[in-house]
Amino acid sequence: MALQSLDIVRRSATTTASPSVRQAQTGTVAKLIDTTKCIGCKACQVACMEWNDLRDEIGTNIGAYQNPHDLTDQSWTLMRFAEYENPDKGNDLEWLIRKDGCMHCADPGCLKACPAPGAIVQYSNGIVDFHQENCIGCGYCIAGCPFDIPRISKRDHKAYKCTLCSDRVAVGLEPACIKSCPTGALVWGTKEDMQHHAAERVEDLKSRGFDNAGLYDPPGVGGTHVMYVLHHADQPQLYNDLPADPHISPAVGLWKGATKPLALTGIVLTALAGFFHYIRIGRNETHESDEQAAARETERARHE
């Protein structure tokens, strides 16, 4: 998305503080996805296409409802369908449908991995947004993301993902997907309100036999601004491999953390070691005596 009237609190590949005087005084925003109310109608997918002017290629039907098969640069949200036979309920079939897309982490791995200044930003309201005009197409965000969300376009080699409709939110509207949901599975508000709402939903689900119902707001990434209500919060992986404990990979932490200052310091110290060797000890020079010694040996060899 282009720059707009939202305050940026964090910016990729930037080592100094972002303007942070204006704070989100009324709290951050969140989308709550109640998987227990979702009927898999895909209205949210269509709304996303319409609002964002996206048209994915027509794919092939492989005999499953999931369509398209994966997130793409043109499909920023996707209903993932899982058929689960619940062993605790006599192998009853449960259809677990999860609306996949960017989770808008409070500690975004994509932003940490991005080498292009300002290509990924985090607004004070919690939305993590890609600014494609600054994107160089390296794909580091894909390696950084704990949820496998960003996709590089084959057309322009820029990275794309759900913006949480930052352009709509900036002018006081709810995201397009929220507006389209017919069952109220998608709810929008402040993060705090969504947590309260989720707590009520969880209580209701527990009273109806879903003892492990719960809110998915993973602390490993500082919490997220897209949260799920799950019937089986103890087994998030049932929902098409939703990670149980997502966090920024230690490899990404190492690559984008300690190695950066250490490596630059190491290179500078190596160069300084050379410089001070030159200053203290100096060059290793060849003198006339060496030339004479070499000449004597050469003469001997010639006359042998």
């Binding site: 580091y140 690559w255 160069a271 030339e291 060899a301």
Partner: protein, 221 residues
């Protein structure tokens, strides 16, 4: 004083052929371009290095191709220099006397062949780093290859790429300083020749090899 080039015992010695020098400088130039573009992507403080390749996106596009060119040119150079870089017993002794080396007390060191033990170590560090950079670089080359690898492997490859690039850059900094430190080395790689005194002082075993190749000893039988 007579012109030393007229004195047959003071004629300069060829250290690197024109082909070897060309090969070396192709590696060196492409290395500099690869290193600055890699550093631009490595640390935000150096992102401005991307101007040298025409901006961030061009840096992302060109860096892997530059890396490939460097690797190919380096393989040719390393193949030509391989036989002169085998570690020998006297090389280990040379390394043990590191203190004499850095203090320019060369007369205390064992005789050196075409390359000293420091040069040989740098040679093997270059080989190891370029191999690691090539393999990890393919894995993180998003446009063509990353789709064939798991995200976990891509993350590990990014770390390997960064660490091996760091070691390579430090080794090159040492390599460049060694060229300044040992006066006359730069001429060997630019004009191809060294003086007999230089060869006698720094690479005596090689000097004698060259000498006996030009003036073979009479056969005793």
């Amino acid at each position: 004083m007579s012109d030393p080039t007229n004195d047959p015992s003071r004629r300069t010695i060829q250290r690197y052929t024109p082909n070897e020098r060309t090969n070396h400088w192709i590696v060196a130039i492409v290395f500099v371009l690869t290193a600055i573009s890699g550093l631009a992507l490595f640390h935000p403080a150096l992102y401005w290095f991307s101007v040298f390749l025409g901006g961030g996106t061009w840096t992302r596009i060109l860096h892997p191709f530059l890396g490939l060119i460097m690797t190919i040119a380096f393989v040719v150079l390393a193949a030509a220099m391989w036989k002169f870089n085998k570690m020998e017993a006297r090389d280990w002794q040379w390394l043990r006397q590191g203190r004499d080396v850095i203090n320019n007390r060369e007369e205390r060191l064992p005789e050196v062949g075409r390359f000293n033990a420091g040069q040989k170590l740098v040679f093997f560090v270059f080989i190891a780093c370029i191999l690691a950079l090539l393999l990890s670089g393919v894995v993180i080359w998003r446009e063509y290859f990353s789709l064939y690898f798991s995200i976990g492997l891509i993350r590990a490859a990014a770390v390997v790429h960064g660490v091996s690039a760091f070691i390579l850059i430090c080794a090159v900094v040492l390599h460049i300083y060694a060229g300044i430190w040992v006066k006359g080395s730069l001429g060997a790689m630019t004009r191809g020749t060294v003086t007999p005194g230089w060869a006698w002082k720094h690479h005596r075993a090689w000097f004698r090899e060259k000498l006996h190749a030009t003036h073979p000893r009479p056969r005793s039988d």
